[in-house]
């Protein structure tokens, strides 16, 4: 919890507290840690702390945006497919199987190579990758909930699809959906970080954690902290997000658990 707050705060407010501009050359390359430059300088002599503070911004935006959009699209489709079954369900599953078969990183690299690296294209790519996965989970849990007698009773008294989806299905599938959300968000973060490491994120001189790791690889023996700090931030953030969403899912799960053991 605290870890998430720290990382999110860094990523969101980093630019406001950073001592220098992210692309301002302030000294020689690979300078050691000093009072003036807390993380030293990078391979071009820019202030590493400032770049670190700027660098979380895009990862966070892309990851949250992409994962959020994927859920908004996938959960309703999953519920409808699971509840209505039939031809619609088969079609949805067939399409999602095709997307499933694509290797994520390669798919994104090809997409970005075609459109040129940009934030909207990256978000779109990650959404396309997430939708079938999220949809499958929503559909599977829906299938399970849909056999409950309260859903049958609702059909038997003539309630509409919408009412049943919103009042019977959605509230009862939220726990696993939230638990899954954290994992997907981590996935998005790592996907974007790898893209940017591979040079398909924001173009230089932009500051970006993934990019920083790759830029400063050459100096890893002289100034290892330049690569370690952003890598650590990415790792910490992923772990924190998944723990948080897990405990959130657990807490809403607990409030609904029956106690007739």
């Amino acid at each position: 919890m605290a870890a998430v707050l720290v990382v999110v705060t860094l990523a969101v407010f980093g630019p406001f507290i950073s001592p220098f501009q992210y692309d301002e050359i302030v000294g020689g390359p690979f300078q050691a840690i000093s009072v003036e430059h807390w993380l030293g300088t990078d391979y071009l002599g820019r202030d590493a702390l400032s770049r670190f503070l700027y660098g979380g911004h895009t990862v966070l935006t892309v990851a949250i945006l992409a994962t959020g959009i994927a859920y908004v699209l996938a959960v309703p489709i999953g519920i409808i497919a699971g509840l209505r079954r039939g031809a619609l369900d088969l079609l949805v599953i067939a399409i999602s199987d095709v997307i499933y078969a694509l290797p994520p990183t390669i798919f994104l690299l090809v997409l970005l190579a075609a459109t040129g690296p940009s934030i909207p294209a990256t978000v779109l790519g990650i959404v396309v990758l997430h939708v079938p996965r999220v949809l499958r989970i929503a559909r599977l849990i829906t299938l399970d909930v849909a056999t409950s007698e309260y859903v049958e009773a609702a059909f038997a008294r003539g309630e509409g699809w919408m009412a049943i989806s919103l009042r019977d299905i959605l509230p009862n599938i939220l726990t696993p959906i939230f638990a899954d959300f954290g994992v997907r968000l981590c996935g998005s973060i790592i996907l974007y970080a790898s893209l940017s490491y591979l040079g398909m994120g924001l173009p230089p001189p932009a500051a970006d954690w993934g990019l920083m790791i790759s830029e400063n690889r050459i100096g890893i023996t002289i100034a290892p902290w330049l690569a370690i700090a952003p890598a650590l931030a990415i790792a910490l953030f992923s772990v924190a997000v998944s723990t948080l969403s897990d405990s959130f899912a657990r807490s809403i799960g607990r409030s609904s658990r029956s106690d007739n053991a």
Binding site: A153, A156, R157, G158, A163, D168, P171, N172, D259
Partner: protein, 527 residues
């Protein structure tokens, strides 16, 4: 009777983690070859007590003070290692739900052998022990049977395996927790006979936990009645049934449904209405299947306006399928369904909203038929609101009237299903069914998940509703129960209708052998 009892429980206290007392100062003793029945309704602490005897505490529960002495040794004070050697060996357990107590992915034989190996029996012994155990519970003891998986066995067979496992180590104490509750009447009967036989031949003491007085009557030597964590009365079977001292015991005894043999005239109980000319619902030559399996084979019956038809059969007889088919929830059906003289399509989505509202169903298990995320009043309001002609300002009035009708206290209205007892939940389900103002209500075993005392009050409620003109299809395996409420009975066996007729005619003059067998196995109590 030997002078020293095998099992002595001395001032046992169990409490939950917040310190609320679940079982208070219980002291009992059971002799060799004796069956002590612990009886009480759900929440009385009887299962917690049974587990406590094995040194277990359910999640969220703690064993407070007290001693459980088996053959002179206090089990609760044993170190964990030694306690484990006791459990499943010297003191064994027959669980309530056999399907949940076997690992679904392991062969039966392996699961039995596991118990023996865990308690240090060597391979050569295992084989003959298993053979004897299976023989004693009348199961086939061949390799093919041992290689089966739990899902390939019926509930009754699994319970036999569970019993065999409980006896295989030559235990000193056997704890049976409602071992027949999940089974249908005829299977229940054979399992009880089996237990009686094993009790006679083994040298153990028995604790039998149940809420079913009829079962107590047929197996117990002595009875301990539990009420809200206290043992309120202990005595021999005769004492309890003939001269109960505690009010609660007397109340329990009174609430058992009985066949009306003894009452002067059945008509006095069942209000007879002159059946109107056209039946409300008429089922003609219905055939239903589950995949390849035929579940119902040419069933026909009528339900007259304001009448109740009892549909009776053992498990697998197709009675639940019939109820679901009439409601429109079973799709693989053929035959004709006439409702108010019109033919009704089988599937929910082909029926008009008005027709859907006119036929409502109440399911067996209220734990699964209520949305856990909806409060009681939300749940009923939803069903009320389906009638679009209702002005928004009268909706609340309707909801309150319905909840009052099923006698749910006002404090429960804002609660969620998890906060209610089984009986209260079932009342919510009834209120929800009534909310659409149905003409026909299908009650699918609606009392079988409930305690006897609560059962009686639900039946009373149904009788009241019937007086108001509601027609019903009452599906059950419990003959005595249905004799209180139904005018007509339909007896099903393996998907075929074997007998039908007026309730009194079927009960007092059964024609078919299966009906006779059902009547004979409906355990009877005559105080």
């Amino acid at each position: 009777m030997p002078s020293t009892p095998t099992l002595v429980v001395d001032a046992l206290n169990l409490s939950d983690l917040n310190g609320r007392s679940i079982v208070r100062d219980v002291s009992l003793s059971v002799n060799v070859g004796e069956v002590l029945a612990i009886i009480g309704e759900s929440g009385s602490g009887k299962t917690s007590l049974a587990l406590g005897l094995m040194g277990f505490a359910r999640p969220g529960m703690r064993i407070g003070s007290g001693r459980v002495i088996i053959d002179g040794r206090d089990v609760l004070s044993l170190p964990a290692e030694e306690l484990r050697a006791y459990r499943g060996n010297k003191i064994t357990n027959v669980p309530q739900n056999p399907t949940a107590s076997f690992s679904p992915r392991m062969r039966i034989g392996t699961q039995i052998r596991e118990v023996l190996e865990a308690h240090g029996r060597d391979q050569s012994q295992c084989h003959s022990l298993i053979e004897n155990a299976l023989e004693s519970v009348s199961l086939p003891n061949n390799e093919a049977f041992l290689k089966r998986y739990p899902f390939e066995l019926s509930g009754g067979q699994l319970q036999r395996v569970a019993i065999a496992v409980a006896f295989i180590t030559g235990p000193r104490v056997v704890v049976m927790d409602e071992p027949t509750t999940g089974l249908d009447v005829s299977t229940q009967q054979t399992i009880l006979e089996l237990i009686r036989k094993l009790v006679q031949t083994s040298e153990a003491s028995f604790v039998y936990v149940t809420h079913d007085l009829a079962v107590v009557h047929s197996v117990a030597d002595r009875v301990a009645v539990m009420y809200r964590g206290d043992v309120v009365e202990t005595g021999t079977r005769e004492q309890i049934f003939k001269a109960a001292r505690h009010d609660y015991t007397r109340m329990l005894l009174k609430s058992i449904p009985r066949l009306q043999h003894t009452s002067t005239s059945p008509e006095a109980v069942v209000p007879q209405r002159p059946p109107s000319a056209a039946p409300l619902l008429s089922l003609q030559n219905m055939q239903a299947s589950h995949g390849e399996l035929k579940a119902v084979n040419g069933l026909s019956f009528d339900i007259a306006q304001g009448q109740c038809v009892g549909l009776i059969g053992g498990s697998g007889s197709g009675k639940t399928t019939t109820g679901r088919a009439i409601t429109g929830l079973h799709t693989k059906v053929e035959g004709k369904l006439l409702f108010e003289g019109r033919q009704l399509p089988w599937r929910v989505r082909d029926r008009s909203k008005a027709d859907l509202r006119a036929i409502q169903i109440v399911f067996q298990n209220p734990d699964r038929s209520l949305n856990p995320r909806e409060s009681i009043s939300q749940c009923v309001r939803r069903a009320v609101c389906l009638d679009a002609s209702l002005a928004p300002d009268v909706v609340e009035g309707h909801v309150s009237r319905l909840l009052d009708r099923v006698r749910l206290p006002k404090r429960t209205w804002s609660l969620y299903p998890d906060d209610l007892s089984g009986g209260e939940r079932q009342r919510v389900a009834v209120a929800r069914a009534l909310a659409t103002r149905p003409k026909l209500m299908i009650c699918d075993e609606i009392t079988s998940a409930l305690d006897v005392s609560i059962q009686a009050s639900v039946i009373e409620l149904l009788l009241e509703l019937k007086m108001d003109g509601l027609s019903m299809l009452f599906i059950t395996h419990n003959l005595p129960l249905v004799s209180d409420i139904a005018e007509t009975l339909v007896i099903l066996k393996d998907g075929n209708m074997v007998e039908t007729g007026e309730t009194s005619a079927v009960l007092f003059n059964p024609q078919h052998d299966y009906t006779k067998a059902l009547l004979a196995s409906a355990l009877q109590l005559r105080a």
